[in-house]
Symmetry: C2
């Protein structure tokens, strides 16, 4: 029988670094998944579970990977939340073929989105509305951030995430890049979303820069005195309009 690992153990120290540091996660090509529900979703989607760290009194999951037992109170000091889940896994990132963009019909682009909760929610909307991938630019929060993983509710394991250095790279893919603005553009419901499109959403609270390399701009018309929607809400509204138009065919789109 092996002794439970203390905080000072090298493996625990590595886990702690992986949770806190983007560069460590990137260098090792892994991400940290917190809680049984999400770990099972990762395994089900075919991601390789490298190791499981379990708190005292918790059973490891039947998903493979080395089992490492933590001593009392250790998990609370390494996890990213105040009331941590009793099990964490280090999961190997699956390679994504960037060529997927060339054959995609619909992608969502996060260009400078800074809040991990918003990015995770965007992944969930993108998958739920039938997008083929999420594209991220360097200004966007790291998508392997534990808060992104959590907010994505598992979508991060199923929807490919592709990194580009700039939105302009999408031009090569044949997708029409559509920028979203909080005012002054075509109403999103008046645009034909059944084409091959890339919906580009920007930073909160600044939005997309006006010189972002997009072909068209859309806006969500707002009533009352609401100035703008949060980027995750805007993403949900836009993504499900894409899904609606694709279900109905483009003939139901009102003419501009």
């Amino acid at each position: 029988m092996t002794l439970p690992l203390a905080l000072s153990n090298q493996r625990v120290q590595r886990l702690r670094r992986l949770i806190g540091r983007r560069d460590e996660r990137r260098m090792e090509g892994v991400l940290v998944v917190e809680g049984a529900v999400l770990i099972l979703e990762a395994a089900e989607a075919g991601w390789e579970i490298e190791s499981q760290f379990v708190a005292p009194g918790t059973d490891p999951l039947e998903v493979g990977g080395e089992i490492l037992k933590l001593a009392e109170g250790v998990l609370e000091r390494v996890a990213s939340t105040d009331s941590p889940q009793p099990i964490l896994a280090v999961v190997r990132r699956r390679a994504v073929d960037p060529g997927i963009i060339g054959s995609a019909d619909f992608v969502v682009v996060a260009d400078g989105v800074s809040d991990p909760g918003n990015l995770g929610t965007m992944l969930r909307s993108a998958e739920g509305s039938g997008a083929d991938a999420l594209v991220v630019t360097p200004g966007t929060v790291d998508y392997t951030n534990p808060k992104v993983v959590r907010a994505s509710a598992g979508s991060i394991f199923r929807l490919p995430v592709v990194e580009v250095s700039d939105v302009s790279e999408l031009a090569l893919s044949g997708l029409v890049p559509i920028g979203t603005s909080s005012h002054g553009a075509t109403a999103y419901t008046d645009l034909d979303m059944t084409r091959r499109i890339a919906l580009v959403l920007g930073n909160e609270p600044r939005g997309l820069s006006a010189d972002t390399n997009v072909a068209e701009w859309v806006t969500i018309p707002l009533q009352g005195q609401v100035e703008s929607l949060n980027v995750a809400m805007a993403c949900a509204v836009l993504c499900f309009e894409v899904a609606r138009q694709r279900r109905s065919g483009s003939d139901t789109v009102a003419s501009p």
Copy 2:
């Protein structure tokens, strides 16, 4: 010159209770607004500012109300966030005529929504999509909770909030109550949302109880392996479909 107030001061102790306790806010008919941006929105919407509590080095706003200066370090101990705004206001709740529901065309109903961030976001979507009111049932988090106020981004000062003891009360108003479910109902885009409707959203993660007194049920069709949307995202998607249909006229709704 008056001395800045210490934590032990009665007014400061009252402020602290108002932030933390729903019953105190209700009894006094007030809510606490944190930060200059939101306080200005409250004043602009015609809410009466009863008092302003300001941290050292911060100027009060020109919005009326008694000015109370706080001693160094006091604000940090009473505010609801870790990095508090340097100014808080106690604001008198404006009376809402429950009769507004009888003449409303579109209301959003939060029936058991427990997360204050979600409820605030729902207020923002409701206002932005042209709803006439938000209706809350007793199982829903208190809408005067400081986190709700913050997440509403000011919508709470503009959109009337009406309390009912049960969803069934809406029947008297002539609004068609439409329940939302994560599966198995009519697609929301196939339902005529140009009628006088009440969109009813339920608890996260349980959703609405199956015996909720609604006339019809809708669902948001989901692709991939997404099981459901967060209640705030679902609310945004549904609300903006209502707005879309009302802009286009009901003739663009696909037949079921």
